[in-house]
Symmetry: C2
Subunit: 433 residues, 2 copies
């Protein structure tokens, strides 16, 4: 019997604002950051669980403090008991009767729970000697359903319906797993489209994206309609008619602003419009979706929890559902969201980028394909080529697809050297500025 | 010209869990707490701004750290510039391009902004020598509209419509102000109804509430239907048919559970049912509201921001809107919510209790009556008789009504002695345990 003996947090920040990588209509100058967690046990195997919340700079200390607030909920617990009932562990954190006042189930405290839960999944997969996507895919439908908290979901999805979805997907699992290992998971790239880039850089990066095998790219929009029309036209001319172009407004518009703006870009063939308004505005998204059809709405990177995703699906407010691996309360809540999407027949196209979001979310999409939706139709994971070099098991791309990770764990572990150098404010990168 | 020179935070906690005051179906053992802020300037007047976020124990340190994260956004600013444009100041905090990732506009970071904004209003009113409700009521419609950020609201409420609402209310302002000073604002009491209380204590406190002049009480429900029916029957027998009884489930149910539970209590005449499900579930609230009519839905104490309130109103999901003075981003956002409620003709019945929530929110309701809705119909502020003794200008009740505060400021200031004794973990109350 082993116990959790250490719970170490790190405020890690990368000075990305210097390059305007990651610049969009709402996030002018992000410093991509991670509120990072290492969990250790007294087991002689020496394995650690690594997890993190992603932020974009200021406030990463608040996020780190929120993870620290969960220390006493973890230290001393029996490892096998926690890892053997991660559904129960999830509930013990999310429904803490005092901490839930800080949300409930949203914002800083909810992301902190996500970091802890994801660290547990990293550890569980390392102990099992498999990547997280494979660990999840090998669970029985009953085990998967036990990971999910159906509170507030049952008017849209019951445990029995979830079991039904998972059992329906069971027959083809082995061949889909084989296909993942052989072909990988389709991706699209946001690299060309940041707002801070010049037209020349946009065109060059569009060309490179096509050469790299991507069949979908994404442009940031929402700052200036004139600029957006010009950039969209340039991108379309560069990639040709066969490559899909999605646009992303990063919440810039109100409902009434969104509709004419999207209509002005629609002639250049918009695959989806992402985050046209506040992520909290279910009814607003639904109104926009009706007004701009056949252009379709995608959203999710800032959707706070499964309850809001439930409503977006109920209201027909989105056509592509964009999970984020580090926004909601970890793997368990994302399984709930994958099941909701499967119930409503909506493709899941994860948000990624930032710090380590690509590394984490590939596991969830591969699990979705093997064991939940069973489909790759219109499904793509976002890909951004930032900061992968800081991870021990970075994502690998081949011909515009994510190669299935094989290393045990959640691909979540950063270099020790990175944790030291980029620690804020005392790491060398920051203290020497 | 003076500047902000100090920004001091305090993690203040009261060991209320020992008495089961404040116990409900989701919050079994709260320790009512405040992440408390004092702002000072170099003005010779020596006036301070006091504000706080309310939490229920664990995590109050996270909330305090979130307030600290705003220190650099305040220190050094010119006092007159900030207080002369509190709408612009609000935007500078809420739309900080890095901090907004932690919400956006929800949870720990949003409540932190609320504490800072409310401290500014406390200071502004002290400098003007009037209570906050009077300071607000004396603003012109144009000044009030300038305090509000209409982003994401304009599909429900435009600045012009807000001006129209405020101008319509202008004629009777002087007589309504006089009435507030003469009669006070109607209240209801939650004191009898906590789940942790015995039947005997429930009956005794119901009797006392009627004797104290209250015409509405509230019972916590949602833990056991059998217990709830018995307690509701006892309460109804004790208070008679003329006193309104509201029930409060504190988010305990899913949509499908809520409806039969409420129907079982409806024969005892339920004035409203509060928080029947998740505060994030706009569509769920709307479904419940349709199913249980003519019983009506109240919600709001955990509604994260104006965008969710907008949707609750658009969907017809509530009949009573319950603002909270310390959940959203302070006075400015609550003005937006009051205006939305006025547009939709829904009475505002604030949540209060906790630590200092009664003290703050009375100002907002009195402002609403004098300058926005102009009505007291079906409007009541919650009253709970906890912890008022720690405030310099505590609420005063007379015949079941809040007496209009006259002291300059927001009634937000705690005793210095309280800040010392209840500081966590080093104050005498905690370190001696």
């Amino acid at each position: 019997m082993s116990r959790f003996t250490a719970f170490e947090t790190y405020d890690v920040r990368f000075p990305t604002s210097a390059e305007l990588d990651g610049s969009d209509a709402m996030n002018a100058d992000p410093d991509y950051s991670a509120a990072y967690l290492v969990i250790r046990t007294d087991d002689p195997d020496g394995l650690e669980g690594h997890g993190f919340a992603f932020t974009i700079g200021r406030g990463n200390d608040v996020q780190t403090t929120a993870i620290e607030a969960l220390r006493e909920r973890v230290l001393g617990l029996e490892v096998e008991a926690v890892l053997g009932d991660l559904g129960g562990f999830w509930r013990s954190l999310v429904h803490d009767s005092q901490l839930r006042w800080l949300g409930p189930e949203k914002g800083v405290m909810h992301m902190a729970i996500g970091a802890v839960v994801n660290a547990m999944w990293d550890l569980a997969a390392k102990r099992a000697g498999v990547p997280v996507w494979k660990l999840l895919a090998d669970l029985t439908p009953e085990q998967i359903v036990a990971l999910v908290d159906f509170r507030y979901l049952e008017d849209a999805l019951t445990p029995d319906e979830a079991l039904e979805i998972l059992r329906r997907a069971a027959p083809g699992k082995a061949s889909r797993e084989e296909r993942m290992r052989a072909e990988g998971y389709p991706a699209y790239t946001t690299t060309p489209g940041w707002l801070g880039y010049s037209d020349e850089k946009l065109v060059r990066l569009c060309r490179e994206a096509v050469a790299d095998g991507f069949t979908q790219i994404k442009l940031k929009v929402g700052d200036s309609l004139t600029d957006d029309v010009r950039r969209m036209r340039l991108a379309r001319e560069t990639v040709g008619p066969a490559v899909r172009i999605a646009i992303d407004a990063n919440q810039r518009w109100g409902v009434d602003q969104a509709v004419p703006w999207i209509e002005a870009l629609a002639p250049y063939d918009v695959w989806w419009v992402e985050e046209p308004t506040s992520p909290d505005d279910v009814l607003g998204h639904a109104t926009i979706a009706r007004a701009i059809a056949p252009v379709r709405v995608a959203t999710g990177e800032h959707v706070q929890n499964r309850i809001v995703f439930k409503q977006l699906l109920q209201a027909g407010a989105l056509s592509f559902l964009q999970i984020d691996a580090a926004r909601v309360a970890g793997v368990n809540e994302n399984i709930a969201i994958l099941l909701l999407a499967a119930k409503y027949g909506v493709p899941v196209c994860p948000h990624a980028g930032g710090v380590g979001l690509c590394e984490l979310v590939q596991h969830l999409s591969m699990f979705d394909y093997v064991a939940v939706s069973g489909s790759l139709d219109d499904r793509v994971i976002e890909y951004v080529d930032h900061l992968h070099e800081h991870f021990l098991d970075p994502v690998r791309m081949r011909a515009g697809r994510y190669v299935a990770p094989e290393a045990p764990g959640f691909s979540a572990q950063m270099d020790r050297d990175t944790l030291d150098r980029f620690r804020f404010p005392d790491g060398k990168v920051w203290s020497s500025q």
